[in-house]
Symmetry: C3
Subunit: 460 residues, 3 copies
């Protein structure tokens, strides 16, 4: 934390303007956008450029000088040029000694270079204090002032004081700096804006694939079969009836897939007798996307709830109910209430409601701001205990709903089972194995293994 005079000036200004001058190398789009915004926040801005003739693109109140002259005017220099041109900075090394250089560059693809741009800059100019910042902010967002998106700016650097100076600028622009540590974090920070939901890709493709399969399966059994053998045109089932069969099936299967890798992990650990060997790669990846699988399952469950609740508004349902009542009236009789039917109807609805309620609770606790407020013990309680309870309730909901049709031959059109039967395979398997795993004779060695015990400690 050596202090040169320029920094002290920067930290304790006594000019009327009170903000320290900032130098920007490069007059490209982002350099101009950042300059605009800094001038509006009260910073004197000086551009370092090859051609010092003032272009109209550059903010009016900014000065434009040669690189060397501009650098001498400020303690902080923002390097708004591309990595390929960084080596032109080496002749300026003496002038840039002790200055804070802010690397704002981004790459075009993940891990494009062996080292991050900021570390490369620090190697080129070992006398300067390099700070990585601003690369996660979009020029368009800065310019238009419509920062609805994240206001977080990741900052990293080896020099604590230099980082503080940059973080003060970030705050002055109305953004929130987030200290990510030393310059080693620059690689991660440079990769961040290039991602498009990386953790969501596998769960989403899996869901799309399964959804398509189940949709076509239902289309065949419910629309095409009916049309061929019963001459009924139920093509409008495509809009609500079939989605409302596919959604609960997807929700149940995905929810079971959230808990399946934990089962596999337990079995592998029991078999190996140690927790100190890595899981197979596929299992590692699967475990890392459990949260995403669970949230997609919740989305399907929510759609199922709404699709179910609109049923009484559907013309088809009203017609069917009306037909039933009219036929009772025409037959001059009132059907008595069947207590068993009432029990089945009410209990599968109640099981579904409670299962969905717990599922929504799980979803709320996975919101970042909520999960940050619970400790590990509380998180485990919610995600494991309540999660399994939700899985049990949802499986029971499906079993009670479809129970009576399991043995009925009419449920097997083209000798194929209805999809809710398919949906029960994974959840039932998970629940049965989990039930075995909580027996004391299995649970005790597993707990010991997870606490670090090894069956064959001499394992090389």
């Amino acid at each position: 934390m050596n202090k040169n005079s320029s920094n002290i000036m920067a930290l304790a200004p006594n000019t009327p303007n009170k903000r320290e001058t900032v130098c920007i190398f490069g007059t490209g789009d982002f350099g101009r956008a950042l300059g605009h915004q800094m001038i509006q926040s009260g910073y004197p801005v000086v551009y370092g450029s090859r051609s010092t003739q003032i272009s109209n693109l550059i903010p009016k109140d900014a000065e434009v000088l040669s690189h060397a002259e501009a650098a001498q005017k400020a303690a902080i220099i923002i390097i708004a040029i591309q990595r390929q041109h960084y080596n032109f900075l080496t002749p300026l090394a003496e002038i840039l000694r002790g200055k804070v250089l802010v690397d704002i560059s981004n790459n075009l693809k993940l891990n494009q270079y062996p080292e991050s741009n900021a570390e490369y800059l620090a190697q080129l100019l070992p006398g300067s204090r390099v700070v990585k910042a601003f690369n996660t902010v979009s020029a368009w967002a800065l310019q238009s002032g419509t920062l609805d998106a994240s206001r977080q700016v990741f900052v990293c650097g080896d020099d604590v004081e230099a980082k503080q100076m940059v973080m003060n600028i970030v705050r002055a622009l109305g953004l929130t700096p987030l200290d990510k540590g030393t310059l080693l974090a620059a690689q991660e920070i440079e990769n961040f804006p290039l991602q498009l939901f990386p953790m969501w890709k596998f769960p989403i493709f899996l869901s799309l694939g399964l959804t398509t399969f189940f949709f076509l399966y239902c289309l065949a059994l419910d629309v095409i079969y009916t049309y061929i053998y019963e001459k009924n045109n139920f093509s409008f089932f495509i809009a609500i009836t079939i989605p409302n069969r596919v959604c609960p099936v997807m929700a149940l299967i995905l929810l079971a897939l959230v808990y399946l890798p934990g089962i596999f992990a337990a079995i592998i650990q029991l078999y190996r007798g140690t927790k100190y060997r890595r899981f197979p790669d596929w299992l590692d990846k699967w475990m890392l996307c459990r949260k995403q699988l669970g949230l997609i399952a919740l989305a399907f469950a929510s759609l199922h709830v709404v699709f179910t609740l609109v049923a009484p508004l559907r013309a088809f349902v009203r017609w069917r109910i009306g037909k039933g009542i009219v036929s009772q009236a025409l037959n001059n009789k009132t059907e008595p209430l069947d207590s068993t039917t009432a029990w089945i109807s009410d209990s599968y609805l109640a099981l579904g409601i409670l299962g969905f309620f717990l599922f929504v609770l799980l979803g709320i606790t996975s919101l970042p701001s909520v999960s940050n407020n619970v400790n590990w013990r509380e998180f485990r309680f919610v995600q494991s205990k309540l999660g399994y309870l939700s899985l049990i309730l949802c499986t029971a909901h499906t079993l009670v709903y479809g129970g009576k049709w399991f043995l009925s031959p009419s449920a097997y059109r083209w000798y194929l089972p209805n999809i809710y039967m398919l949906s029960l395979v994974v959840p039932c398997a998970v629940l049965v194995v989990k039930f075995v795993l909580i027996f004391p004779c299995v649970d005790k060695p597993l707990t010991q293994i997870r606490q670090g015990w090894e069956r064959n400690p001499k394992y090389s």
Copy 2:
């Protein structure tokens, strides 16, 4: 970062109490509340007051001394007096030299003085290290200990070490300090507690105005017209039927108004051939309240969903359905299922459900803790792609719902269109213009302009 002896004592205490003594100037309500709380957190507190006789209002364990004596006992002095009386501190300048002065004052209205209170204090006592803090905390909340509200305390100041000392006190009181940078941020921090949803004012007034208009419009067409011409008393429509017409209309219009300013901005940029000129003021303001407009639209959409789902529970709906069935039974016939009606009914429900589902997703990603976890690219994807998809689905939902009535004269009571027709104007306009804007011949120059290209670079 010069260190005087008192600070070193403060940072490395070896007294049994271990907390450094804090001095509070002023025995007003907030000074007393803060003192109470600090004593409970283990800080020795000494009050500086004009009259040193111990008042009963002051916490029992606190000492009361003259200002000069009290200041000498502590490294941190909390200035719990009003800005108008700050100048009485100037005679104490020598005693306060090097001390950390914490300005906790608030003003009565926004931007009451040219400079912030904290900056004014720093000007009066240039030898002291002024830190702004605690002004966002309410005395009542501190006293009653019921801090359900935000626990964040904004802290700013030019001296990093002084800021650290104050932030340690903030943490000890169970609050969360948030470093807002140098003392220049004090103005913003002082304005913060005076605001009452400033970004929400325009969207809420706009919504209230439009809601009132549409409510009266529906009241005239649905209740008054029916009463005059059909002698039916449908006044109970005020409770559910009319709200359930107004809510979807408001949701659709407000959602379209979220995307309209982006359309205007694109047209203006295409016309001007540059992005380096400010948008008109009204457009800037509009763009800044898009998130609020979207959330209000989501609120209306949610109300529409619930109002629609309760329909089968309404006495009126049950009576109407019962009447239809009874008349079928009395006419001794069963109406066959009309496949077209079933298609229309199911598809507008399905479109509405999917549109609402995407809308809720948009709402969830606008939660601060979620949007902080996505990068700019992901945010743009969700808010722009999914947002437009949601707008398309909701517009299609309305079109399918009302399609058959567009050409029916009975839909034009008093020659006025039904409100769902009115609600389609803005969304359809937005979608049509957006459709034009994504044509390559329009999209290409627009993208270039947004990347910094200019059609007339010599524009002065």
Copy 3:
């Protein structure tokens, strides 16, 4: 902030590896898990152990040395041993002088020792710089890399630079450090992971108790009474009908209990004429769990909404509606629409929807990330104004729903009132007293008291 050579080396490394060596004392489960993770993040790790023969359990790339040798190799030493064995460190005091010691220990129960483990360590080794960290992270979570839970690591310590060094390691492991201030915070940090929803215990037990009571009450009146006196087997009411009576009752009572302590507090303050005396203990505790009570009330209200909306899907409801229509058809008449019934039905539904809507808004603003973005004035506006409005709407919803039965003798089976009558007692009491409290003659002295005025300032 004195700098010894090892730290400067640590902050500005020029080795190819670039991460400073970290020493871990203790080869227990957590020490091994942390070592594994640090090696993966690029830190050279050296273990200090009594037996220096390399065990297979220890990560392959780590060195194992005696405590003294290991300590000399690193500037940061992680103390992964239990508090009972801390005193074996005293002979190493000279070697550990100036080093950063990271206390990661946890206790088995809350406040097990008079001082925190970290403070005890700092007392034993006054020359070392003790930092508390990592105790909130689970070894299992570190090992399996599935950190879906909170990534926050609380860090505290008296030495700012030592804290920075530890926070850099935390960040390098992909976790988020949270500075909790000086070592005095260690007690709180050590207690944190031992808690299991401490604030939720009382509200949950209260809810369970009340729910059980109301469930049995309903069971007696709706199922057993009907079975005895009307010979109807309505046992299936247990699944939906009774839960849907208990849920709204619980929601309304708990919502009223959120606002009741505020009423008590106001009355106590008015009676005492001062705010400077502590409330009774029970009231303090009650006020602190208002948020939890409110969220449980919201959960009951949400269940009530879903239970109500599924009504048209229930076999029992369909049978009852069908029976009514068939009897109309058999009697050859169509019942006319009763406008009063339509009004009552629609208005209690509308009141319920609006009350629930405001209730959900309250719930959303209590999400940590949302409440951190509103100031005290806005929070008070939402929680107090909107909260009372929600309570008024929900109470009115219940009154309109049940109004006509209050005077009907058939509503009093076994001379007991229906539970919705019981549910109205607390909310009506709260609303009546609140109505009195906002009269100017009561509100004015109360406001004065809350601003610090005292009726009897000489009170000793």
